[in-house]
């Protein structure tokens, strides 16, 4: 009974999603939620990783070896995309909700979000993959 009740809304939600009238704002809304859940998960992982610090340098370095592989460098770059979008769009939401003019210019704000985001992604890509400061 409970299972039936729980299942129906999810199915309806998926149907709604598939028939969603996509426009810039609704896309940002969905992306904000997906990136938010991912970032909460990552925050747990991040705190858990730093826990290695109290196990001493050997254990910590072993744990961090994982993050030096090329695969994880790409993953870190993608993580930055999530952080970036959630942060920039979050500022947009705050402007939208807390200021008088925000909701009238929200699509223009979204363009700014994507523009700053794209530039920062390129910058971070250079930092991660080309190591310009030679560390």
């Amino acid at each position: 009974m409970v299972y039936e009740q729980a299942r129906k809304p999810l199915k309806t939600w998926l149907q709604t999603l598939l028939h969603y009238r996509w426009h810039p704002g609704s896309l940002a809304y969905v992306l904000h939620r997906i990136s938010g859940i991912a970032l909460l998960g990552y925050l747990f992982v991040h705190i858990w990783t730093l826990r290695g610090l109290v196990q001493g340098q050997v254990a910590y370095d072993e744990k961090m070896q994982l993050f030096a592989t090329p695969l994880f460098k790409v993953a870190e770059w993608l993580l930055f995309a999530f952080v970036l979008f959630h942060a920039l769009n979050g500022v947009r939401i705050a402007l939208l909700d807390l200021t008088q003019r925000g909701s009238r210019v929200h699509v223009a704000l979204l363009r700014i979000v994507y523009a700053i985001g794209a530039i920062a992604m390129v910058g971070m890509g250079v930092l991660i993959f080309f190591d310009p400061f030679g560390t």
């Binding site: 409970v2 999810l10 859940i37 909460l40 925050l43 109290v54 196990q55 910590y60 190591d131 400061f133």
Partner: protein, 117 residues
């Protein structure tokens, strides 16, 4: 209840804006180079400084609160049975408390382990 919801609504936005500042600071100071962010000694040195400890305790609390409240806001958009919603809330708050404890304990005790191999 209504007042609490209104507070939660504002707090989600204000904590989010604070987290943007924290995140920029975190990226610039910690992850500017791979060495500054991933090396044992630099991490321990940072977390032995009371100012950084204060900064990171705040970061942990704000991040977990904003994240768990955000997940709760998403759950509230679904017509979930009361028991499922309650169970999910217990799991979310439980996870937040556990990782807050883990983060606090790491930040506050890491300097004691500085000389461990």
């Amino acid at each position: 209840m209504k007042r609490w919801s209104a507070f939660a609504w504002y707090w989600q936005r204000i904590s989010g804006l604070l987290l943007v500042i924290f995140t920029i600071g975190h990226y610039v100071t910690v992850h500017w180079t791979e060495a500054s962010g991933h090396e044992f000694n630099s991490s321990v040195a940072r977390l032995s400084n009371p100012l950084w400890q204060f900064w990171y305790l705040g970061f942990v609390v704000l991040g977990l609160w904003h994240g768990v409240q955000g997940a709760y806001n998403i759950l509230r958009d679904f017509k979930l049975p009361r028991a499922v919603l309650l169970g999910a809330v217990v799991v979310l708050i439980g996870a937040a408390l556990y990782f807050a404890y883990l983060g606090f304990d790491t930040v506050l005790t890491v300097h004691e382990w500085k000389h461990r191999p």
